[in-house]
């Protein structure tokens, strides 16, 4: 067994495999299929200060090698999370991380401050990129200034590991990455979904209720990998790679491109046990290549 442990800005993980926000519920939904403690971290559903009903149905459409969604951050709000969900998940022996969204820097900061009080939550992941919410994260994540302002506000309110999740729907992801690191991000994760659309040609209407949605799954992997590679070269903080990872080979590509850990999202829908298989597959690769530790392959592309 190789040493799979990684450290993301002070947060110790038993392996580099995490689950992506919005695709794994609170982890509990998958507890029948895998031992949740076998994965390095679980990023729970997007949480906002106030409850949100999300967008109307239809919220999902299957596409070539992927899917579009416009769930729109449906959640019961941070108070409900703290009172009802946290007690159910706090004893799961892995890193339970809360994905935080908001519609203004103050909301983000207040939500983060609430979660800062929860002892067993070692980190938050700031979603500055959700493309679904009309008044939501979009505005922050697409300009270096907007991204800076929200990260700065949260940094002042949140004392533990602050991961900032980047949107791919931007001109230069590297510029945004640099500005959120300047604002105090401890780590970055990327990518969130790519904005897309699908049309019902019989009805001549968009299929999704709000017309557009976020593309995820293997269709986005090459784009995600390229962005992770660019960002990992440009910043000093750890980068968490995600987007279309379906198996261990995909995960290893991200690690080689410079990601210190990876997240798996849509693939859980196809195989609810994929996360543990990927962790095992990374181990097998390391053994096959005579590596003692996963750190040996992070960013280890040959010139």
């Amino acid at each position: 067994m190789a040493d799979l442990s990684v450290n993301i800005a002070g947060m110790q993980m038993k392996n580099p495999v995490m689950t992506a926000s919005g695709t794994f519920g609170y982890g509990l939904e998958y507890a029948d299929f895998i031992n949740l403690e076998d994965i390095g971290g679980i990023i729970v559903k997007g949480t906002t200060l106030k409850p949100r009903e999300g967008n109307p149905y239809p919220r999902m459409v299957e596409t070539a090698s992927g899917m579009l969604n416009c769930v729109g951050l449906q959640n019961k709000g941070v108070d409900y999370f703290c009172e009802n969900i946290y007690p159910q998940i706090k004893d799961i022996q892995t890193n339970m991380i809360v994905n935080v969204s908001g519609s203004c820097p103050e909301d983000y900061a207040e939500c983060a401050a609430r979660i800062n009080e929860l002892e067993r939550i070692p980190a938050i992941e700031l979603n500055i990129s959700c493309p679904n919410v009309k008044q939501g994260g979009m505005a922050f994540g697409v300009t270096p200034e907007g991204a800076y302002s929200v990260v700065k506000a949260v940094r002042e309110a949140y004392k533990k590991t602050l991961i900032v999740k980047l949107s791919p729907n931007v001109t230069s992801v590297v510029d945004i990455a640099r500005s959120v690191v300047d604002a105090g991000a401890d780590a970055l994760s990327l990518i969130n979904t790519l904005m897309g659309m699908a049309i019902d040609i019989e009805k001549r209407r968009p299929i999704l209720s709000i017309a557009t949605g976020g593309l995820s799954g293997p269709a986005v992997k090459p784009v995600a990998l390229r962005m992770v590679w660019q960002v990992a070269k440009a910043v000093q903080v750890p980068v968490i790679g995600l987007g279309g990872i379906m198996n261990a080979d995909d995960a290893i590509e991200f690690l080689l491109a410079g990601a210190s850990a990876i997240q798996i999202g849509t693939a859980n829908f196809i195989d609810p046990t994929v996360t543990v298989k990927v962790a095992q597959g990374i181990n097998d690769y390391l053994e096959r290549h005579g590596c003692k530790s996963v750190s040996e392959i992070i960013g280890a592309l040959e010139d």
Partner: protein, 258 residues
């Protein structure tokens, strides 16, 4: 109820009709406990345009042969690929998922099961469960024409069966809600599954007659386990997941304009 990912083995496939396939599958170990109205998410291999699993209702459980049955209508690439399975092939399924139809405590309840098209699929296992619970179900099954009425002999073993077809080739001509049985007999409870317009008509009849009514929804799904919130139905309590809190809903929870 614990959910499983299982590699089932196909024991037989039959084509009751050119647009339908009945898959029977087994497993080395006893199949898990499953309730009527629950469904499975079937993995489709070898179809490039089919990325997600396909939700399919549990049609029947044959405990003696340790078999689960899926009755599938071929509508697109995914279901067509499933229809190509051969005996001996493996099919990866996640099950059992969702809630279930209510099996009344009171044995004297008069329960009517209304199925339309492939929506008759879950009614067979529901009927069997009711019989096992000491309740004799009545079935009202509708289809386009006689050849679209599937598994009728099996329904007849469980209870009285009334039929409608749109072309009049079997039973009474018209839609299920036009069948004379609805005026001739009294029912305490209706369970229905089928095309949405049919279920809405049944729900309307039930509401106007003061009959408890449960419907089974078919919202498009991604995860099937309540994790992604893609499959929501807007209800009196807001958006709820059809895959987890459903697919079976009492009509009083829904916002249907009926």
């Amino acid at each position: 109820m614990k959910k499983y990912v299982l590699d089932l083995k196909v024991t037989s496939t039959t084509r009751p009709h050119e647009r339908y396939v009945l898959l029977k599958l087994t497993h080395e170990n006893p199949l898990p406990e499953m309730l009527p109205g629950q469904f499975a998410e079937l993995k489709v291999d070898g179809s490039p345009s089919t990325f997600l699993r396909r939700p399919i209702s549990i049609n029947y459980i044959d405990r003696e042969r340790n078999e689960v049955w899926f009755l599938i209508q071929m509508v697109g690439d995914g279901t067509r690929k499933l229809a190509e399975l051969k005996p001996g092939d493996r099919l990866n399924v996640v099950m059992p998922l969702g809630n279930s139809f209510t099996v009344p405590e009171v044995k004297s309840e008069r329960v009517l099961l209304v199925g339309g098209g492939v929506g008759t699929a879950p009614m067979l296992y529901l009927g069997k469960t009711l019989v096992d619970a000491g309740i004799k179900p009545t079935f009202l099954l509708g289809a386009r024409s006689a050849k679209d009425l599937l598994e009728i002999d099996l329904f007849q073993e469980l209870g009285d069966v009334y039929l409608t077809t749109e072309d009049g080739s079997a039973g009474e001509q018209g839609f299920v809600t036009q069948h004379s049985i609805l005026t001739q007999q009294k029912f305490d409870r209706i369970a229905t599954c089928g095309p949405k317009p049919m279920m809405m008509a049944v729900a309307k009849f039930a509401r106007n007659s003061g009959i408890t009514c449960e419907v089974s929804l078919e919202n498009t799904m991604a995860c099937g386990v309540g994790a992604c919130l893609c499959c929501v139905e807007n209800t009196k309590e807001g958006h709820v997941c059809v895959c987890k809190e459903g697919p079976v809903f009492n009509i009083d929870r829904l916002l249907w304009q009926i």
